[in-house]
Amino acid sequence: MSTVALPEYVHHYHDPAHADDRSFVRKYIFSTDHKIIGIQFLFMSLTFLLIGGLLAMLIRWQLGWPGRPLPGGAVLGETRMPGGIMLPEFYNSLMTMHGTIMIFFAVMPLLVGVFANYLIPLQVGAPDMAFPRLNMASFWLAVVSGILMFAGFFVEAGHAAAGWTSYAPLSVVPEYSGVYNGQVLWTVSLIILGFSSLAGAVNYITTIINMRAPGMTLLRLPLPTWALFITSILILLAIPVLTGALILLLFDQVLGTGFFIPEMGGEPLLWQHMFWYFGHPEVYILILPSFGFVSEIIANGARKPVFGYTAMVLALAAIAFLGWIVWGHHMFQSGMNPMLGVGFMATTMVIAVPTAIKVFNWIGTLWQGNLHFHSPMLYSLAFVSMFVIGGFSGVFLASTPVDIPLHDTYFVVAHIHYVLFGGSLFGIFAALTYWFPKMFGRTMNERINKIHFALTFVFFNLTFFPMHELGVNGMLRRVYDYTQYALFQDLVDLNRFISLSAFALFASQLIYAANYIWSLGRGARASANPWRANSLEWTVPSPPPHGNFDSMPVVYRGPYEYSSPESEEDYLPQDAPPAEAPRPEPAPTFA
């Protein structure tokens, strides 16, 4: 240990006597406070979530009523929906942007931008991130990127239409796609978003490694922080690969190079390898944080320690590691050497193992618990149930021969939505609701949340479960008008049913949005620890002041000491000194 004292180590804790005298702009717009940045990310990504959902509704209109004019759809213009009839190129833009926006601008920033920012310093006991200004840059780069991505809808010849995977050469050559600047905007926007994610990841990793409070050993970290830590490592290592691939794509698009153009010596499959080398870790970036949130909330709801905490951490790490060696399973039918397919199938199958560990450990956490069904708990239980279905459909797709009929059909669409909506998004609902009192000092209306939960659960399954059936029947994804195929003509009724369910699903989300916005101003005041939870963020006021903690917290135990014999109450905060009773809290607001 060096004896040189370096000022970099000094962190400012909150002083209640010292009023927060930052200007409005510094406090709420160009803020370096991790909590404000988290909330900024929150509203940005919720906006994109809404936009992405609206795009999906347009897609479902076309699939439910192929070629039928959408009432009022003509307002979108002659180049998109002339007379309300959707054009195929607009359909392709819609499904491309639905995927891109949901993955890069809704789910990823909701999981990482919002919760990594908000939770990590609070859960490790730090006053802020390691690099607050870098953190601010991360948010504003994401805004720039989002604006560029959205701008694509308004440029000549429309937005990117080569799918969110943007396979070359379709994404490169305008004569093939009919898209000109839209495709370039897509590429540039994602390059910028990559820098934003990178800035975030450097911050999260450094903060978790270096800024933990005394006593906060790695195996006392709450699981959300663990999940976000591993997610950050994935971002750190995966995003640069995407950036490299995107830069080559951009050169092909604007400078006339041909990295992915066979006539010029390029390789179309190189794009796929580079994209999926990033893309599969990306899938785990989109689910691991939800694993963390759900573990936290299930333990809280069950009033029990997480079953097999260490195994949970190891499983997270194992999933993240395996995520690097399975990318080829997206390319089984791509013309890749079939022997490689066998290898990728084997590694892909192995991922089921750590995933099974997590699922059984969640059930183990419920076992002999005292289950409080507050709304975050309901969302979390739905997460486990839906994610399991997404995992099982993954086994079908992982098996190379079974993938032959299922690849690029609605079976894949069902799979990704069971994982991303049934999984990630239920996890996000759980987390948004669970940490709402901490973020805004108020509580959401529990009854409305439960209505939202019930509607979402029902309509989610009515929307996406039948898609398995469509896929097994062979219905292709990314197809504007499947009735062109004689084989799929009798699928119209089922598609129409799915579309109606999807509309109801979308409408149900508006209930949550309304409740969220209403609760921001009118919700009941929240105490510091309404869920009677253990981790450090619940030891500070709701919302926490600038600088988070009055003084440095000291941690004595892990985060899941619920129903511990040490305590009279059924919870035991991480910073409560041994043999000291937990702070008195009012009765829980859920029931």
Partner: protein, 210 residues
């Protein structure tokens, strides 16, 4: 646990946790460099794949590229790493003048490297080796030019950023901005510089020698 209750501010003790034993800035730079490793890996990977797919399109070492000139340039860049180390060592012993001079030397060597690379590009371009398809006569050369300029160009961009950052660091050093107890800026500058140097050695081997 020492809490210096100096006025309104509570100070973290020097090392609150058994972390990595390095301070934030240095850890952050290490973490960032990991992502840079992945970035260059992706470009180098693309280069290798494209080269194996178009073996005929790539010239033999020395047939197109000026290997001796670039070997000399590589030597220059390695020297700049040495001067960087010297600068940091001088700062640790409190030798302000040495720090400034070694930093300036590093700036000079970095800029020299870039100039030689610029001259090399100019020569190659005037011989017809440009990164587009139509201008170079050799068959299949498009892919060679594209990958060559992309790889070396991205490294050049990193060196450029490094030189600009070194100039900033040097100015700060001349203003006495670094002391033996406050040397984080120089140390992370060095980390970045050594990384860029290391990447070049790999690129030189792959692009010029193999």
């Amino acid at each position: 646990m020492s809490q210096a209750a100096a006025g309104a501010i509570t100070l973290y003790p020097r090392r609150p946790m058994p972390g990595m034993g390095v301070y934030n800035l240095k850890l952050g730079m290490w973490v960032f460099l990991l992502s840079e490793v992945m970035f260059f890996s992706s470009l180098i990977g693309a280069y290798i794949i494209l080269r194996f797919a178009n073996l005929d399109a790539y010239a033999q070492p020395g047939a197109v590229l000026n290997v001796p000139l670039t070997a000399f340039n590589t030597f220059v860049l390695i020297c700049s790493s040495v001067t960087m180390v010297k600068g940091f060592a001088a700062l640790q012993t409190g030798d302000q003048r040495g720090t400034r001079l070694w930093l300036l030397a590093t700036v000079f060597l970095g800029a020299f490297f870039l100039s030689v690379q610029g001259i090399e590009y100019y020569q190659l371009a005037s011989e017809g080796f440009v990164p587009s398809a139509s201008s170079y006569e050799a068959e299949g050369a498009a892919i060679y030019g594209m990958t060559f300029y992309t790889l070396t160009g991205f490294h050049g961009a990193h060196v450029t950023i490094g030189v600009l950052a070194l100039i900033f660091t040097s100015v700060k050093a001349f203003r006495g901005g670094y002391t033996p107890t406050k040397l984080g800026g120089v140390e992370i500058m060095g980390l970045y510089w050594h990384f860029v140097d290391l990447v070049w050695i790999i690129l030189f081997t792959i692009v010029y020698l193999i």
